[in-house]
């Protein structure tokens, strides 16, 4: 009897144990954390948007294809989030298992139900009053690891925030905001590290990229984008010029897990427009640097614009593509630079494979065999192509593995008359050294700043475009012309659609193979961000920031 009771008890206990195990499994599945393995395999879960550029390859390509060229005209607005800010809205949100994490200026994070846009919580970060980001008090998004979000702030702090309840976990000050250091990028999480770089290239900062422990916020390594004495590359600076050499890092890098390398674009040397004040190549300004994420050690670099006189920041997103190159599979990096040239690099070693202009260029006659530009400085008072904002800028390009095309937002036929002037460094003040002008007297320059509802600049000063180039040659396959310049990022889909926007405020869907316009929706505010796509309950959404609002579109529900 005793025995029988014991065995019954035991079986009951086993049953309970099994039930508990099943319950834990279910809870675990629902409660799945964003592991570094999930980040690595982000392409396998296209319902989510787990990193700034949609995955470590930074192709801003989604495998979702419910929205296609037969039904895209039926897209309807599902919800709008109105930011409590009048600053430029440059954010790319993350979408994790139905929750959207969106940032608004200066440094708020809002957790939203991605299906309805209703908020769960708001994290408000009190920005230091001395923050002085050059080009708008903006934030471009967050990164996630586990249950923690990471945000880089305009006063140069890195903050960890609990993704479930919006409370800060740690807060590191990386640099002095009063000296012009700022951060606007979404951090990059690689394995067990959070990696960020600092902006502030217009204040004579000294740029760096640094990695942090996600749990404690402890700094683990730092790579100086302007090498100090004793570091390789320092010899490319004269005297003390390096001390205010800038080489800011404005945008999120990419990562190749097989090579264990992260890739980062760096900005202009300081002062921006007066190269005579800083003779030499000014490494590692206007470069892509390949860093080991474990140690921060430089594996290789490639400089696009040595001794840059034009502010041709190389702050584009490094787009990684694995494709055939002259009959062999190669690990490539595709780069349409602000300087108007398109480059293909071997991302294992930084070797230049090919390159050429993708827009009108007259500052260089071409690239030599190693990819170094052959400068052709224009006479004083004459226009240089491309102008200050470049032939493209920081706007996310896209690569579609399906079409094999590389898509770029462009500023076409656009120039500036550059004049360098001497400038003294004073902490916290602009250190740009230029008196630049539009090539047509009295005309408004189509600067990269937000424009109002009336287009006030002269079309002779340039226009925008979305272009599709053959990555092997950089030659255009098609181009879609815009009247105003293009400040938008690009998304391509597995249904061969391309979503984009621009300063005019239209959200556009094009056929990624032909460039044909399939849909345009006037959102009424400049688009200065990249679109994303995600899926909830089997329904695909595409979304974009415009003006001061975030717009989410999906197909009309059947029966409505």
């Amino acid at each position: 009897m005793m025995r029988e009771m014991t065995s019954r008890k035991l079986s009951r206990q086993i049953c309970r144990g099994l039930l508990l195990a099943v319950a834990l499994l279910i809870a675990g599945a629902m409660n799945a954390q964003v592991t570094s393995e999930r980040l690595k395999r982000a392409a396998d879960e296209p319902q989510n948007w787990l990193t700034y550029s949609g995955g470590y390859m930074s192709q801003r390509f989604t495998a979702l294809k419910q929205i296609d060229n037969t039904n895209v005209k039926n897209l309807e607005l599902k919800w709008v989030f109105q930011a409590q800010s009048l600053q430029k809205f440059e954010t790319t949100p993350l979408v994790v298992d139905g929750i959207m994490y969106l940032t608004q200026s200066p440094n708020d994070i809002i957790a939203l139900d991605a299906k309805t846009g209703r908020a769960f919580w708001v994290y408000h970060y009190a920005t230091a009053p001395e923050a002085r980001p050059c080009c708008g008090i903006v934030n471009r998004g967050v990164a996630i690891l586990g249950d923690t979000l990471f945000m880089a702030t305009v006063d140069a702090h890195l903050v960890a925030v609990d993704a479930r309840n919006g409370h800060a976990i740690w807060n590191d000050k990386l640099a002095e905001p009063a000296a012009g250091y700022a951060m606007t990028m979404a951090p990059l999480v690689v394995k067990d590290k959070v990696i960020v770089g600092v902006a502030g290239g217009e204040y004579g900062i000294r740029g760096f990229i640094a990695a942090f422990d996600p749990h404690s916020g402890k700094e683990l390594w730092r790579f100086n984008t302007v090498p100090q004495p004793g570091e390789p590359g320092h010899e490319t600076w004269r005297g003390d010029d390096w001390k205010h050499g800038s080489a800011a890092v404005w945008l999120t890098g990419s990562y190749d897990p097989d090579l264990n390398l992260t890739y980062w674009g760096t900005g202009n040397p300081g002062p921006d427009w007066n190269p005579g004040q800083r003779p030499g190549d000014n490494l590692y300004s206007d470069c892509v640097v390949a860093l080991d994420p474990d140690s921060g050690k430089l594996k290789w670099y490639f400089q696009f614009t040595p001794n840059d006189p034009y502010d041709y920041d190389s702050v584009q997103i490094p787009v990684l593509a694995d494709m055939d190159w002259n009959g062999a599979a190669r690990k490539l990096m595709l780069w349409a630079n602000r300087n108007g040239f398109y480059y293909v690099l071997d991302r294992t070693n930084g070797k230049f494979l090919t390159g050429g202009p993708f827009a009108k260029v007259n500052w260089a006659s071409g690239l030599d065999a190693k990819g170094r530009p052959i400068p052709t400085p224009q006479p004083p008072g004459k226009p240089t192509f491309p102008g200050i904002q470049g032939a493209t800028n920081w706007y996310s390009p896209s690569f579609s593995p399906r079409t094999g095309l590389f898509y770029i937002s462009t500023w076409e036929n656009y120039s500036t008359v550059f004049t360098g002037v001497d400038v003294d460094y004073r902490e916290g003040l602009r250190y740009t050294g230029g008196a630049n002008a539009a090539p047509i007297a009295g005309a408004d320059n189509p600067a990269g700043q937000r424009s109002g509802p009336v287009n006030t600049y002269t079309e002779a000063l340039g226009r925008g475009g979305v272009i599709a180039v053959d990555p092997h040659t950089g030659k255009r396959k098609w181009s879609f012309e815009l009247h105003d310049v293009n400040t938008s990022g690009i998304l391509t889909t597995a249904s061969d659609l391309l979503f984009s926007g621009g300063r005019e405020g239209y959200f556009q869907a094009l056929d990624a193979r032909t460039g044909a316009l399939l849909l345009k929706i006037n959102l009424g505010g400049e688009i200065i961000a990249g679109p994303i796509s995600f899926e909830i309950d089997g329904k695909q959404y595409v979304s974009i920031a415009s003006g001061n609002s975030y717009f989410v579109f999906g197909l009309r529900d059947a029966g409505n």
């Binding site: 409660n31 309805t116 609990d162 807060n171």
Partner: protein, 273 residues
């Protein structure tokens, strides 16, 4: 003559009119100042706030204003004799902005600290630092994490469950008095947004959690497994917002010293700086 009489009548009338207007103005002023005075100050100031304020005053204000608030000529804080501030709101403004051109600097105090300083200044003449109990934050933390059982539901600085509100910044946001009232009467002091909700979907699934947000058509909550959920009300069979709270009242379960310690601890939770 007629003219003169008329003039003198007119003058008389003018005088009378002036007198009436003056009386009316005086009456209005008296009334207005009475009303103003009634609104100048809070009806009562909570002992917990006054005590907390006394500590902040000693650390931040006493160096210039002196222990009794009379060290600066012409200013008697406890006696209500201030140059630029009459109402509580004026005091708050002076604390936030300072007084340009004087030695009074702007302070970045938390809301809970501002409430406490104002409460103390209004009561500093009668405040007896020896009366009542002083709290010890370290003991309060031990009670919070141990005997009090608070840490079983509340999260602080990244540790603990998220089911109840995270208290990492509670000491900056809530006044000492509010905290004390919440501990004794959680349901009465609970913010509407934190109320427990219970929903039953049309297929019978029961969902319970803490409300984070709600509108006509949907409700957002964190459930007991700490998932963020957004529920479509049209897909629910039942939806109830409970006015009770899962937090127990500590009335009769916490002694005065424990309460003082607990409040002292909670007031140290200021979030990240």
């Amino acid at each position: 003559m007629l003219f003169l009489i008329q003039r003198s009548n007119a003058r008389l009338w003018q005088r009378r009119k002036f007198a009436i207007m003056l009386a009316a103005a005086l009456l209005l002023c008296t009334f207005a100042s009475g009303v103003g005075r009634a609104q100048d100050r809070a009806p009562t100031y909570a002992p917990a706030d006054i005590r907390y304020g006394s500590q902040i005053y000693a650390a931040q204000c006493a160096a210039c204003h002196g222990p009794t608030g009379t060290q600066i000529g012409g200013v008697d804080l406890g006696g209500g004799q201030l140059r630029r501030a009459t109402s509580d709101q004026d005091l708050r403004t002076v604390l936030a902005n300072g007084i340009p051109g004087t030695a009074m600097p702007p302070f970045r105090f938390d809301p809970s600290e501002v409430t406490a300083i104002v409460a103390y200044v209004r009561n500093m003449r009668n405040f007896d630092s020896h009366a009542g109990l002083s709290g010890d934050a370290a003991r309060g933390r031990a009670w919070f994490e141990g005997a009090g059982g608070c840490a079983n539901c509340h999260r602080v600085n990244g540790k603990g469950p998220r089911v109840a509100p995270d208290l990492s910044e509670i000491g900056a946001l809530r006044s000492a008095d509010f905290l004390q009232r919440t501990i004794l009467d959680p349901a009465g002091a609970m913010l509407p947004v934190d109320r427990p909700v219970r929903a039953v979907s049309k297929d019978g699934k029961v969902i319970t959690g803490r409300r984070l947000n709600e509108d006509t058509y949907s409700v957002q909550l964190i459930d007991e497994e700490e998932h963020l959920l957004s529920l479509d009300k049209s897909k629910l069979r039942e939806y109830t917002v409970l006015t009770t709270t899962t937090m127990p009242s500590y009335k009769g379960k916490i002694n005065d010293q424990e309460m003082a310690d607990l409040i002292a601890y909670l007031l140290t939770l200021k979030g990240l700086r």
